[in-house]
Symmetry: C2
Amino acid sequence: MSLQNEVPAKPRKIPVQSRSEATVEAIFEGAIQVLVESGPRYLTTTRVAERAGVSVGTLYQYFANIDGLMVAILERHLRKVIDRVVAICAKQHGQPLSAMTQALTDEFIDAKTERLDVTRALYAVAYDLKGLELIEQLSERSVDAIRDMLTTAPDVAVDAPDQVAAVIHAAMAGVVQIVLGKAGKPTDLHALRYHIRHLVLGYLTSLGPSAR
Amino acid sequence: MSLQNEVPAKPRKIPVQSRSEATVEAIFEGAIQVLVESGPRYLTTTRVAERAGVSVGTLYQYFANIDGLMVAILERHLRKVIDRVVAICAKQHGQPLSAMTQALTDEFIDAKTERLDVTRALYAVAYDLKGLELIEQLSERSVDAIRDMLTTAPDVAVDAPDQVAAVIHAAMAGVVQIVLGKAGKPTDLHALRYHIRHLVLGYLTSLGPSAR
DNA sequence: ACCTGAACACCGTTCAAGT
DNA sequence: ACCTGAACACCGTTCAAGT
């Protein structure tokens, strides 16, 4: 049939023997390698299977199709980043706005640059997948955490915290995506941290800093 | 040979007869249609050729390969947006910072949303192409225009205007990309304009507004 | 329970042949 | 000068057959 199918997520089969756990892990590893070395256009079932040391048939036992594999890889990465954002937000409850901002933006950049090559490779994967409610669901968790943090700031009352949190998330993710997306130069992380911090903090104060 | 080739740009042949001008136009049209209706994963030579009413061979007369076609489509779109940014920046020389900001951010969003479906379809195309010095070259024009505008602001002196202009460009492009990327809801453009304006203006003032 | 690999439809690209 | 479409290597996906 045509390619015009949905994008199914996750392993279609849950490993019950330890042998297959190793297989799934090998597939992930192989996929990441192909992705980083050759880019998303070369992430083919053949190549991944070869790298992983399994046959194509095996790959299809765990992933509904190549998009399913892409989604699984992307999800893994996003979960790691979002988990860190959620954690840091919880930890900053009650801190002054500037401290919140710095902690949040620094943590976000740290998480995204821990494996910079993988992050870069995955930007393309993310956009290749249409729909992508997965990403929206995950970033919703992040937006919620940011909003909940903002409402506990002792020095400022943020209006419409839902919208504001969404903008902050988009600003961080968007700028980092554009800046890290540049394959060439090595990226000045110190400067990036500084500017994103001011972007977010400036935005928050510019909205009308209702002193509390 | 392998797919591991460079991404060549532009038509390999310049149309000299009016017949072929029409052919190139038809190919572009067909490609945009496929892209918008089915997404970047379905942008195949077969489909584009069929839509355009030409044979695959003809397509290859004007584009070195499928990536070349993608680049050409993307470039067309980016040029339109960047041209508008460059023009508005020139027009705002000498205006106060807040007026500059509003003009710039509004114009950017206008340009990106004029053909929202096409814009969305092209985000994926952009990331599919590795390297992409094209995009960097084009956005450099935009960054330069923003910097040149900023240095003429009568009310504020911006430090390190090069870096700042790059951040502003990335912030606008990044946020718009993330927000418009969400396929679901219709996007509240009015709110988007408002928040991006404050994001950029807040950033600029937060950097330390050296009153002039 | 898990793995293999041949089989088939489809895509990218080329090129000899046409007008 | 421009266009066609069969040909070939390769990719996604399936499934009968193996352990």
